[in-house]
Amino acid sequence: MPHSILKNALSFLSNTSTSSARSSEDRNKKTALYHAQLLQQRKDVEALILAYTEALLEVPSSPAADPARPRLQDITLVKDSLKPFQPSDYDSLIEERNINKRCGYVLCPRPNRQEDTKARYRILHGKGRGSDSLKFVDRHTLEQWCSDDCGKRALYVKLQLNEEPAWTRVGSPVGDILLLEDEQNIQKRLEYDFTLIGELRSLDLGLEEDEVVARMKALAIERGDEEASSRSFGLAEIDVHEKRDIGGKVSAPDPSTTERNSKGWSDSIEGYTPRCTRKKTRGPESGNREDEDEDMMPTI
Protein backbone atom coordinates (compact mmCIF):
# COMPACT_ATOMS: atom_id res chain seq x y z
CA MET A 1 0.00 0.00 0.00
CA PRO A 2 1.55 3.31 -1.01
CA HIS A 3 2.46 5.44 1.92
CA SER A 4 0.02 8.23 1.15
CA ILE A 5 -2.96 5.90 1.04
CA LEU A 6 -1.98 4.67 4.45
CA LYS A 7 -1.65 8.21 5.67
CA ASN A 8 -5.06 9.15 4.31
CA ALA A 9 -6.55 6.06 5.87
CA LEU A 10 -5.00 6.82 9.22
CA SER A 11 -6.12 10.41 9.32
CA PHE A 12 -9.54 9.24 8.27
CA LEU A 13 -9.64 6.73 11.10
CA SER A 14 -8.45 9.16 13.71
CA ASN A 15 -11.10 11.62 12.63
CA THR A 16 -13.89 9.14 12.97
CA SER A 17 -12.70 7.38 16.09
CA THR A 18 -12.77 10.59 18.11
CA SER A 19 -16.54 10.58 18.07
CA SER A 20 -16.50 8.23 21.01
CA ALA A 21 -19.91 6.63 20.76
CA ARG A 22 -19.04 4.77 17.60
CA SER A 23 -18.86 1.04 17.89
CA SER A 24 -15.90 -0.74 16.37
CA GLU A 25 -18.21 -2.44 13.93
CA ASP A 26 -19.27 0.97 12.75
CA ARG A 27 -15.67 1.92 12.34
CA ASN A 28 -14.88 -1.18 10.36
CA LYS A 29 -17.72 -0.37 8.04
CA LYS A 30 -16.36 3.09 7.54
CA THR A 31 -12.89 1.79 6.84
CA ALA A 32 -14.25 -0.62 4.29
CA LEU A 33 -16.23 2.18 2.71
CA TYR A 34 -13.17 4.37 2.64
CA HIS A 35 -11.14 1.70 0.85
CA ALA A 36 -13.95 1.06 -1.58
CA GLN A 37 -14.04 4.75 -2.38
CA LEU A 38 -10.29 4.86 -2.84
CA LEU A 39 -10.47 1.88 -5.16
CA GLN A 40 -13.22 3.55 -7.14
CA GLN A 41 -11.17 6.73 -7.36
CA ARG A 42 -8.28 4.71 -8.66
CA LYS A 43 -10.44 3.01 -11.25
CA ASP A 44 -11.83 6.35 -12.38
CA VAL A 45 -8.39 7.89 -12.72
CA GLU A 46 -7.07 4.90 -14.61
CA ALA A 47 -10.01 5.04 -17.00
CA LEU A 48 -9.39 8.74 -17.47
CA ILE A 49 -5.71 8.20 -18.22
CA LEU A 50 -6.59 5.49 -20.71
CA ALA A 51 -9.04 7.82 -22.45
CA TYR A 52 -6.48 10.63 -22.50
CA THR A 53 -3.81 8.29 -23.84
CA GLU A 54 -6.15 7.27 -26.61
CA ALA A 55 -6.93 10.90 -27.44
CA LEU A 56 -3.25 11.88 -27.40
CA LEU A 57 -2.50 9.27 -30.06
CA GLU A 58 -4.30 11.60 -32.48
CA VAL A 59 -2.31 14.71 -31.52
CA PRO A 60 -1.19 16.92 -33.19
CA SER A 61 -4.35 17.60 -35.13
CA SER A 62 -2.57 18.61 -38.31
CA PRO A 63 -0.10 16.33 -40.13
CA ALA A 64 1.89 19.43 -41.03
CA ALA A 65 2.29 20.54 -37.42
CA ASP A 66 5.75 21.62 -36.28
CA PRO A 67 6.84 20.14 -32.94
CA ALA A 68 8.94 23.24 -32.33
CA ARG A 69 5.93 25.51 -32.81
CA PRO A 70 2.82 23.58 -31.83
CA ARG A 71 -0.65 25.03 -32.20
CA LEU A 72 -2.02 26.60 -29.05
CA GLN A 73 -5.04 24.28 -29.15
CA ASP A 74 -2.83 21.20 -29.17
CA ILE A 75 -0.63 22.60 -26.42
CA THR A 76 -3.61 23.20 -24.17
CA LEU A 77 -4.96 19.72 -24.80
CA VAL A 78 -1.60 18.11 -24.08
CA LYS A 79 -0.89 20.10 -20.94
CA ASP A 80 -4.34 19.43 -19.51
CA SER A 81 -4.39 15.75 -20.44
CA LEU A 82 -0.96 14.96 -18.99
CA LYS A 83 -1.75 16.29 -15.52
CA PRO A 84 -2.92 12.96 -14.04
CA PHE A 85 -0.15 11.01 -15.80
CA GLN A 86 2.65 9.30 -13.93
CA PRO A 87 5.94 8.85 -15.79
CA SER A 88 4.98 5.22 -16.48
CA ASP A 89 1.70 6.30 -18.12
CA TYR A 90 3.72 8.68 -20.25
CA ASP A 91 6.07 5.86 -21.31
CA SER A 92 3.02 3.89 -22.24
CA LEU A 93 1.78 6.78 -24.41
CA ILE A 94 5.13 6.84 -26.21
CA GLU A 95 4.95 3.10 -26.79
CA GLU A 96 1.44 3.40 -28.20
CA ARG A 97 2.46 6.25 -30.53
CA ASN A 98 5.42 4.23 -31.76
CA ILE A 99 3.17 1.26 -32.52
CA ASN A 100 1.19 3.62 -34.73
CA LYS A 101 4.49 4.67 -36.34
CA ARG A 102 4.45 8.13 -34.88
CA CYS A 103 7.16 10.09 -33.12
CA GLY A 104 6.83 9.52 -29.38
CA TYR A 105 6.76 13.24 -28.64
CA VAL A 106 3.09 13.99 -28.30
CA LEU A 107 3.16 17.26 -30.28
CA CYS A 108 5.01 15.80 -33.26
CA PRO A 109 3.14 14.40 -36.28
CA ARG A 110 6.19 12.82 -37.94
CA PRO A 111 6.95 9.11 -38.17
CA ASN A 112 9.42 7.78 -35.63
CA ARG A 113 12.90 6.75 -36.77
CA GLN A 114 13.25 3.24 -38.14
CA GLU A 115 16.80 1.98 -37.88
CA ASP A 116 17.66 -0.46 -40.65
CA THR A 117 19.31 -2.83 -38.24
CA LYS A 118 18.10 -5.46 -35.83
CA ALA A 119 21.15 -4.96 -33.61
CA ARG A 120 20.36 -4.00 -30.06
CA TYR A 121 22.81 -1.09 -29.98
CA ARG A 122 23.96 1.57 -32.37
CA ILE A 123 27.31 3.24 -32.05
CA LEU A 124 27.16 6.98 -32.54
CA HIS A 125 30.04 9.39 -32.92
CA GLY A 126 29.83 12.25 -30.50
CA LYS A 127 31.99 15.34 -30.34
CA GLY A 128 35.72 14.88 -30.10
CA ARG A 129 37.94 12.11 -31.34
CA GLY A 130 38.90 8.60 -30.44
CA SER A 131 36.96 5.96 -28.63
CA ASP A 132 35.97 8.38 -25.86
CA SER A 133 33.56 10.09 -28.19
CA LEU A 134 31.73 6.91 -29.14
CA LYS A 135 28.32 6.47 -27.65
CA PHE A 136 26.42 3.22 -27.42
CA VAL A 137 22.78 3.91 -27.87
CA ASP A 138 19.96 1.45 -27.44
CA ARG A 139 18.30 1.10 -30.83
CA HIS A 140 14.90 1.10 -29.17
CA THR A 141 15.65 4.50 -27.65
CA LEU A 142 16.57 5.92 -31.05
CA GLU A 143 13.42 4.56 -32.62
CA GLN A 144 11.13 6.24 -30.12
CA TRP A 145 11.49 9.64 -31.78
CA CYS A 146 11.75 11.24 -35.21
CA SER A 147 14.83 13.17 -34.10
CA ASP A 148 17.04 13.89 -31.09
CA ASP A 149 15.23 17.19 -30.66
CA CYS A 150 11.93 15.43 -30.09
CA GLY A 151 13.65 13.06 -27.70
CA LYS A 152 14.75 16.07 -25.64
CA ARG A 153 11.31 17.66 -25.81
CA ALA A 154 9.65 14.45 -24.67
CA LEU A 155 12.09 13.90 -21.81
CA TYR A 156 11.67 17.49 -20.68
CA VAL A 157 7.95 16.87 -20.24
CA LYS A 158 8.46 13.49 -18.59
CA LEU A 159 10.68 14.91 -15.88
CA GLN A 160 7.88 17.18 -14.73
CA LEU A 161 5.31 14.42 -14.29
CA ASN A 162 4.28 13.51 -10.77
CA GLU A 163 5.58 10.13 -9.59
CA GLU A 164 2.67 9.82 -7.23
CA PRO A 165 -0.52 8.24 -8.62
CA ALA A 166 -3.17 10.86 -9.27
CA TRP A 167 -5.71 9.21 -6.96
CA THR A 168 -3.48 9.75 -3.92
CA ARG A 169 -2.42 13.25 -4.86
CA VAL A 170 -5.12 14.86 -2.72
CA GLY A 171 -3.97 18.26 -1.59
CA SER A 172 -0.81 18.49 -3.65
CA PRO A 173 -1.51 21.10 -6.30
CA VAL A 174 -0.93 20.21 -9.89
CA GLY A 175 1.67 22.46 -11.43
CA ASP A 176 1.44 23.44 -15.05
CA ILE A 177 3.52 21.31 -17.35
CA LEU A 178 6.06 23.24 -19.37
CA LEU A 179 7.20 22.39 -22.85
CA LEU A 180 10.86 22.66 -23.73
CA GLU A 181 9.85 25.47 -26.08
CA ASP A 182 8.31 27.38 -23.17
CA GLU A 183 11.64 27.24 -21.41
CA GLN A 184 13.52 28.28 -24.52
CA ASN A 185 11.11 31.13 -25.11
CA ILE A 186 11.88 32.41 -21.68
CA GLN A 187 15.55 32.22 -22.43
CA LYS A 188 15.13 34.01 -25.74
CA ARG A 189 13.04 36.68 -24.15
CA LEU A 190 15.66 37.23 -21.50
CA GLU A 191 18.34 37.47 -24.13
CA TYR A 192 16.26 39.96 -26.00
CA ASP A 193 15.78 42.09 -22.92
CA PHE A 194 19.45 42.10 -22.16
CA THR A 195 20.19 43.10 -25.71
CA LEU A 196 17.77 45.98 -25.31
CA ILE A 197 19.46 47.11 -22.17
CA GLY A 198 22.76 46.87 -23.93
CA GLU A 199 21.63 48.92 -26.86
CA LEU A 200 20.05 51.43 -24.63
CA ARG A 201 23.23 51.78 -22.72
CA SER A 202 25.49 52.08 -25.73
CA LEU A 203 23.20 54.66 -27.29
CA ASP A 204 22.71 56.73 -24.22
CA LEU A 205 26.05 56.83 -22.60
CA GLY A 206 25.48 60.50 -22.03
CA LEU A 207 22.24 60.00 -20.16
CA GLU A 208 22.01 60.47 -16.48
CA GLU A 209 21.66 57.28 -14.55
CA ASP A 210 18.25 58.39 -13.37
CA GLU A 211 17.10 58.60 -16.89
CA VAL A 212 18.29 55.11 -17.70
CA VAL A 213 16.47 53.83 -14.67
CA ALA A 214 13.33 55.62 -15.78
CA ARG A 215 13.57 54.06 -19.22
CA MET A 216 14.02 50.63 -17.79
CA LYS A 217 10.99 51.17 -15.63
CA ALA A 218 8.99 52.17 -18.66
CA LEU A 219 10.14 49.03 -20.36
CA ALA A 220 9.00 47.05 -17.38
CA ILE A 221 5.60 48.70 -17.33
CA GLU A 222 5.18 48.01 -21.00
CA ARG A 223 5.40 44.34 -20.18
CA GLY A 224 3.19 44.65 -17.15
CA ASP A 225 4.49 44.37 -13.64
CA GLU A 226 7.20 41.96 -12.64
CA GLU A 227 4.92 39.03 -12.09
CA ALA A 228 2.82 39.59 -15.15
CA SER A 229 5.91 39.83 -17.27
CA SER A 230 6.88 36.27 -16.50
CA ARG A 231 3.47 35.14 -17.65
CA SER A 232 3.77 36.86 -20.96
CA PHE A 233 7.07 35.21 -21.81
CA GLY A 234 5.91 31.78 -22.62
CA LEU A 235 2.85 29.83 -23.48
CA ALA A 236 2.03 28.84 -19.96
CA GLU A 237 2.46 30.12 -16.48
CA ILE A 238 5.99 29.81 -15.35
CA ASP A 239 6.93 27.96 -12.26
CA VAL A 240 10.55 28.73 -11.81
CA HIS A 241 10.95 26.09 -9.15
CA GLU A 242 10.22 23.47 -11.76
CA LYS A 243 13.82 23.74 -12.78
CA ARG A 244 14.84 21.89 -9.67
CA ASP A 245 13.42 18.67 -11.03
CA ILE A 246 15.11 19.08 -14.32
CA GLY A 247 18.54 18.68 -12.82
CA GLY A 248 21.29 18.11 -15.34
CA LYS A 249 19.29 15.82 -17.52
CA VAL A 250 17.79 18.36 -19.85
CA SER A 251 20.33 20.39 -21.73
CA ALA A 252 20.72 23.82 -20.33
CA PRO A 253 20.61 26.73 -22.76
CA ASP A 254 23.62 26.43 -24.94
CA PRO A 255 26.15 29.00 -23.78
CA SER A 256 27.47 29.41 -27.31
CA THR A 257 24.21 31.01 -28.40
CA THR A 258 24.37 33.54 -25.62
CA GLU A 259 28.02 34.30 -26.05
CA ARG A 260 27.53 35.97 -29.37
CA ASN A 261 26.35 38.95 -27.41
CA SER A 262 29.77 40.31 -26.67
CA LYS A 263 28.86 43.30 -24.61
CA GLY A 264 29.72 41.64 -21.38
CA TRP A 265 26.32 40.94 -19.86
CA SER A 266 25.81 37.62 -21.56
CA ASP A 267 26.72 35.71 -18.41
CA SER A 268 23.62 36.94 -16.71
CA ILE A 269 21.36 35.12 -19.10
CA GLU A 270 22.16 31.83 -17.57
CA GLY A 271 19.92 32.15 -14.54
CA TYR A 272 17.10 33.95 -12.87
CA THR A 273 19.25 35.77 -10.34
CA PRO A 274 21.54 37.68 -12.61
CA ARG A 275 22.20 40.40 -10.14
CA CYS A 276 25.03 38.77 -8.26
CA THR A 277 26.42 37.04 -11.28
CA ARG A 278 26.61 40.23 -13.20
CA LYS A 279 28.45 42.02 -10.49
CA LYS A 280 31.03 39.33 -10.34
CA THR A 281 31.56 38.63 -13.97
CA ARG A 282 31.16 41.94 -15.68
CA GLY A 283 33.92 42.98 -18.02
CA PRO A 284 36.21 45.82 -16.99
CA GLU A 285 34.77 48.23 -19.58
CA SER A 286 31.57 48.52 -17.63
CA GLY A 287 33.04 48.10 -14.19
CA ASN A 288 32.18 51.64 -13.21
CA ARG A 289 28.47 51.10 -13.66
CA GLU A 290 27.74 48.78 -10.81
CA ASP A 291 25.38 51.19 -9.13
CA GLU A 292 23.30 51.42 -12.20
CA ASP A 293 22.97 47.64 -12.25
CA GLU A 294 21.65 47.67 -8.76
CA ASP A 295 18.78 49.82 -9.87
CA MET A 296 18.05 48.18 -13.15
CA MET A 297 18.01 44.54 -12.38
CA PRO A 298 14.89 44.42 -10.25
CA THR A 299 12.87 45.64 -13.19
CA ILE A 300 13.78 42.73 -15.41
Binding site: E46, L57, S92, I99
Partner: protein
Protein backbone atom coordinates in the same frame (compact mmCIF):
# COMPACT_ATOMS: atom_id res chain seq x y z
CA UNK B 1 22.35 -16.11 -60.60
CA UNK B 2 23.15 -18.79 -58.01
CA UNK B 3 23.06 -16.17 -55.30
CA UNK B 4 19.65 -14.99 -56.38
CA UNK B 5 18.33 -18.52 -56.43
CA UNK B 6 19.70 -19.14 -52.97
CA UNK B 7 18.09 -15.94 -51.74
CA UNK B 8 14.78 -16.92 -53.27
CA UNK B 9 14.97 -20.38 -51.75
CA UNK B 10 15.65 -18.88 -48.33
CA UNK B 11 12.64 -16.57 -48.57
CA UNK B 12 10.44 -19.49 -49.64
CA UNK B 13 11.71 -21.60 -46.74
CA UNK B 14 11.00 -18.77 -44.27
CA UNK B 15 7.51 -18.35 -45.68
CA UNK B 16 6.83 -22.06 -45.34
CA UNK B 17 8.12 -22.20 -41.78
CA UNK B 18 5.79 -19.33 -40.92
CA UNK B 19 2.91 -21.10 -42.62
CA UNK B 20 3.57 -24.28 -40.66
CA UNK B 21 3.58 -22.30 -37.39
CA UNK B 22 0.24 -20.76 -38.24
CA UNK B 23 -1.19 -24.14 -39.22
CA UNK B 24 -0.29 -25.45 -35.76
CA UNK B 25 -1.82 -22.41 -34.03
CA UNK B 26 -4.91 -22.80 -36.20
CA UNK B 27 -5.33 -26.44 -35.21
CA UNK B 28 -4.92 -25.65 -31.52
CA UNK B 29 -7.55 -22.90 -31.71
CA UNK B 30 -9.95 -25.30 -33.41
CA UNK B 31 -9.33 -28.06 -30.88
CA UNK B 32 -9.82 -25.51 -28.12
CA UNK B 33 -13.16 -24.34 -29.47
CA UNK B 34 -14.26 -27.94 -29.94
CA UNK B 35 -13.24 -28.76 -26.36
CA UNK B 36 -15.21 -25.78 -25.09
CA UNK B 37 -18.27 -27.07 -26.89
CA UNK B 38 -18.59 -25.06 -30.10
CA UNK B 39 -19.93 -26.64 -33.26
CA UNK B 40 -16.96 -27.69 -35.38
CA UNK B 41 -16.66 -30.51 -37.85
CA UNK B 42 -13.92 -33.07 -37.31
CA UNK B 43 -12.47 -32.36 -40.77
CA UNK B 44 -12.08 -28.70 -39.81
CA UNK B 45 -10.11 -29.59 -36.69
CA UNK B 46 -7.91 -32.08 -38.48
CA UNK B 47 -7.07 -30.00 -41.53
CA UNK B 48 -3.85 -31.17 -43.19
CA UNK B 49 -0.93 -28.83 -43.76
CA UNK B 50 -1.49 -29.12 -47.51
CA UNK B 51 -5.14 -28.14 -47.31
CA UNK B 52 -4.25 -25.31 -44.96
CA UNK B 53 -1.63 -24.08 -47.43
CA UNK B 54 -4.16 -24.22 -50.26
CA UNK B 55 -6.69 -22.15 -48.34
CA UNK B 56 -4.58 -19.69 -46.38
CA UNK B 57 -1.25 -19.06 -48.13
CA UNK B 58 -0.62 -15.87 -50.06
CA UNK B 59 1.16 -16.03 -53.47
CA UNK B 60 4.57 -15.98 -51.75
CA UNK B 61 3.67 -19.04 -49.71
CA UNK B 62 3.43 -17.14 -46.41
CA UNK B 63 0.26 -17.32 -44.33
CA UNK B 64 -2.36 -14.70 -45.12
CA UNK B 65 -3.78 -13.98 -41.67
CA UNK B 66 -6.59 -11.84 -43.03
CA UNK B 67 -8.15 -14.93 -44.60
CA UNK B 68 -8.06 -16.79 -41.30
CA UNK B 69 -10.92 -15.00 -39.54
CA UNK B 70 -13.58 -17.46 -38.47
CA UNK B 71 -16.50 -17.93 -36.11
CA UNK B 72 -18.33 -20.82 -34.40
CA UNK B 73 -21.70 -21.31 -32.77
CA UNK B 74 -22.20 -23.13 -29.48
CA UNK B 75 -23.69 -26.64 -29.59
CA UNK B 76 -26.93 -27.30 -27.72
CA UNK B 77 -24.96 -29.09 -25.03
CA UNK B 78 -22.79 -26.02 -24.56
CA UNK B 79 -25.83 -23.74 -24.36
CA UNK B 80 -27.27 -25.92 -21.62
CA UNK B 81 -24.01 -25.99 -19.71
CA UNK B 82 -23.84 -22.20 -19.74
CA UNK B 83 -27.42 -21.66 -18.60
CA UNK B 84 -27.99 -20.70 -14.97
CA UNK B 85 -30.61 -22.54 -12.91
CA UNK B 86 -34.08 -21.02 -13.20
CA UNK B 87 -35.26 -18.85 -10.33
CA UNK B 88 -38.63 -17.33 -9.51
CA UNK B 89 -37.46 -13.98 -10.78
CA UNK B 90 -36.02 -15.54 -13.91
CA UNK B 91 -37.75 -18.78 -14.82
CA UNK B 92 -36.05 -18.96 -18.23
CA UNK B 93 -32.53 -17.57 -17.90
CA UNK B 94 -30.75 -17.06 -21.22
CA UNK B 95 -27.54 -19.01 -21.85
CA UNK B 96 -24.37 -17.10 -20.94
CA UNK B 97 -22.68 -18.02 -24.18
CA UNK B 98 -23.02 -17.34 -27.89
CA UNK B 99 -21.14 -17.15 -31.15
CA UNK B 100 -17.36 -16.83 -30.89
CA UNK B 101 -15.31 -14.75 -33.33
CA UNK B 102 -11.67 -15.57 -33.97
CA UNK B 103 -9.20 -13.25 -35.61
CA UNK B 104 -5.52 -13.74 -36.39
CA UNK B 105 -4.07 -10.25 -36.23
CA UNK B 106 -1.91 -9.05 -39.12
CA UNK B 107 -0.43 -6.27 -36.99
CA UNK B 108 3.11 -6.74 -35.78
CA UNK B 109 2.27 -5.06 -32.45
CA UNK B 110 -1.03 -4.59 -30.67
CA UNK B 111 -1.67 -1.27 -28.96
CA UNK B 112 -4.77 0.61 -27.91
CA UNK B 113 -5.82 1.38 -31.47
CA UNK B 114 -5.62 -2.19 -32.74
CA UNK B 115 -7.39 -3.53 -29.66
CA UNK B 116 -10.11 -0.90 -29.91
CA UNK B 117 -10.74 -1.84 -33.55
CA UNK B 118 -11.03 -5.51 -32.62
CA UNK B 119 -13.35 -4.79 -29.68
CA UNK B 120 -15.52 -2.65 -31.91
CA UNK B 121 -15.85 -5.43 -34.45
CA UNK B 122 -16.83 -7.92 -31.76
CA UNK B 123 -19.47 -5.75 -30.15
CA UNK B 124 -20.81 -4.40 -33.43
CA UNK B 125 -21.55 -7.89 -34.68
CA UNK B 126 -22.85 -8.91 -31.25
CA UNK B 127 -20.44 -11.80 -30.88
CA UNK B 128 -20.59 -13.18 -27.38
CA UNK B 129 -16.85 -13.81 -27.34
CA UNK B 130 -13.95 -12.58 -29.44
CA UNK B 131 -10.52 -14.20 -29.56
CA UNK B 132 -7.61 -12.17 -30.87
CA UNK B 133 -4.54 -14.19 -31.79
CA UNK B 134 -1.51 -11.90 -31.90
CA UNK B 135 2.02 -12.15 -33.22
CA UNK B 136 3.55 -10.33 -30.26
CA UNK B 137 2.56 -9.35 -26.76
CA UNK B 138 -0.12 -6.71 -26.23
CA UNK B 139 0.68 -3.39 -24.58
CA UNK B 140 -0.52 -2.92 -20.98
CA UNK B 141 -2.70 0.03 -22.00
CA UNK B 142 -4.43 -2.05 -24.69
CA UNK B 143 -5.13 -4.82 -22.17
CA UNK B 144 -7.01 -2.28 -20.06
CA UNK B 145 -9.58 -1.95 -22.84
CA UNK B 146 -10.63 -5.61 -22.53
CA UNK B 147 -12.81 -5.27 -19.39
CA UNK B 148 -14.37 -2.11 -20.79
CA UNK B 149 -16.09 -3.77 -23.75
CA UNK B 150 -18.59 -5.77 -21.70
CA UNK B 151 -20.91 -7.56 -22.25
CA UNK B 152 -18.68 -9.00 -24.97
CA UNK B 153 -15.87 -11.18 -23.68
CA UNK B 154 -12.45 -10.67 -25.22
CA UNK B 155 -9.69 -13.22 -24.95
CA UNK B 156 -6.21 -12.96 -26.35
CA UNK B 157 -3.59 -15.54 -27.23
CA UNK B 158 -0.15 -15.24 -28.72
CA UNK B 159 0.58 -17.41 -31.74
CA UNK B 160 3.58 -18.93 -30.03
CA UNK B 161 1.44 -20.11 -27.11
CA UNK B 162 -0.76 -22.07 -29.50
CA UNK B 163 1.95 -24.01 -31.32
CA UNK B 164 1.35 -26.88 -28.92
CA UNK B 165 -1.97 -27.84 -27.34
CA UNK B 166 -1.06 -27.91 -23.64
CA UNK B 167 -4.07 -30.05 -22.72
CA UNK B 168 -2.66 -32.82 -24.91
CA UNK B 169 0.38 -33.08 -22.69
CA UNK B 170 0.32 -36.33 -20.72
CA UNK B 171 1.01 -34.59 -17.42
CA UNK B 172 -1.93 -32.25 -17.78
CA UNK B 173 -5.05 -33.87 -16.31
CA UNK B 174 -8.43 -33.51 -17.94
CA UNK B 175 -10.29 -30.35 -16.92
CA UNK B 176 -14.02 -30.32 -17.33
CA UNK B 177 -16.30 -27.36 -16.75
CA UNK B 178 -19.31 -28.08 -14.52
CA UNK B 179 -22.73 -26.77 -15.48
CA UNK B 180 -24.61 -24.61 -12.99
CA UNK B 181 -26.68 -27.64 -12.04
CA UNK B 182 -23.64 -29.89 -11.54
CA UNK B 183 -22.03 -27.23 -9.40
CA UNK B 184 -25.05 -26.99 -7.10
CA UNK B 185 -25.18 -30.80 -6.76
CA UNK B 186 -21.51 -30.99 -5.93
CA UNK B 187 -21.73 -28.38 -3.19
CA UNK B 188 -24.85 -30.03 -1.78
CA UNK B 189 -23.28 -33.48 -1.77
CA UNK B 190 -20.21 -32.33 0.16
CA UNK B 191 -22.01 -29.63 2.17
CA UNK B 192 -19.53 -27.03 1.03
CA UNK B 193 -19.59 -23.41 0.13
CA UNK B 194 -17.93 -22.77 -3.21
CA UNK B 195 -15.33 -20.60 -1.47
CA UNK B 196 -14.22 -23.71 0.44
CA UNK B 197 -13.08 -25.43 -2.74
CA UNK B 198 -9.46 -25.27 -3.86
CA UNK B 199 -8.98 -22.56 -6.42
CA UNK B 200 -7.78 -22.08 -9.96
CA UNK B 201 -6.81 -18.70 -11.36
CA UNK B 202 -8.65 -17.68 -14.54
CA UNK B 203 -5.20 -16.79 -15.90
CA UNK B 204 -3.96 -20.36 -15.45
CA UNK B 205 -3.04 -21.75 -18.90
CA UNK B 206 -5.65 -24.52 -18.78
CA UNK B 207 -8.28 -22.14 -17.39
CA UNK B 208 -7.46 -19.79 -20.25
CA UNK B 209 -7.74 -22.64 -22.73
CA UNK B 210 -11.22 -23.42 -21.47
CA UNK B 211 -12.20 -19.76 -21.18
CA UNK B 212 -13.08 -20.23 -17.49
CA UNK B 213 -14.89 -17.36 -15.81
CA UNK B 214 -14.77 -16.34 -12.19
CA UNK B 215 -17.18 -18.41 -10.09
CA UNK B 216 -17.21 -21.46 -12.35
CA UNK B 217 -16.10 -24.84 -11.08
CA UNK B 218 -13.97 -27.34 -13.01
CA UNK B 219 -13.65 -31.03 -12.38
CA UNK B 220 -10.10 -32.27 -12.72
CA UNK B 221 -9.72 -35.92 -13.57
CA UNK B 222 -6.37 -37.61 -12.90
CA UNK B 223 -5.22 -41.08 -13.50
CA UNK B 224 -2.99 -42.70 -10.95
CA UNK B 225 -1.47 -46.17 -10.88
CA UNK B 226 -2.55 -46.77 -7.32
CA UNK B 227 -5.91 -45.06 -7.17
CA UNK B 228 -7.09 -45.36 -10.75
CA UNK B 229 -9.18 -42.38 -11.86
CA UNK B 230 -9.95 -39.79 -9.28
CA UNK B 231 -11.50 -36.37 -9.48
CA UNK B 232 -10.94 -33.10 -7.70
CA UNK B 233 -12.64 -29.77 -8.08
CA UNK B 234 -11.44 -26.19 -8.43
CA UNK B 235 -13.26 -22.93 -8.07
CA UNK B 236 -12.19 -20.32 -10.64
CA UNK B 237 -11.17 -16.94 -9.24
Amino acid sequence: MDNQDAERAKIAADADRELTRLWRAWRTIHQMCQDRGYEIGEEEVKISLNDFRKDYADPSGAPDRKKMNTSFRPTDAMLTKYTALPTKAEPHPPPQIGTIWIEFSSDASIGIKQMRAFAQHVSQHKFYTGILVTQASITPAALKIIPVVLPSIIETFQEQDLLVNITHHELVPTHELLSAEQKVELLKRYRLKESQLPRIQVGDPVAKYLGLRKGQVVKIIRRSETAGRYASYRWAI
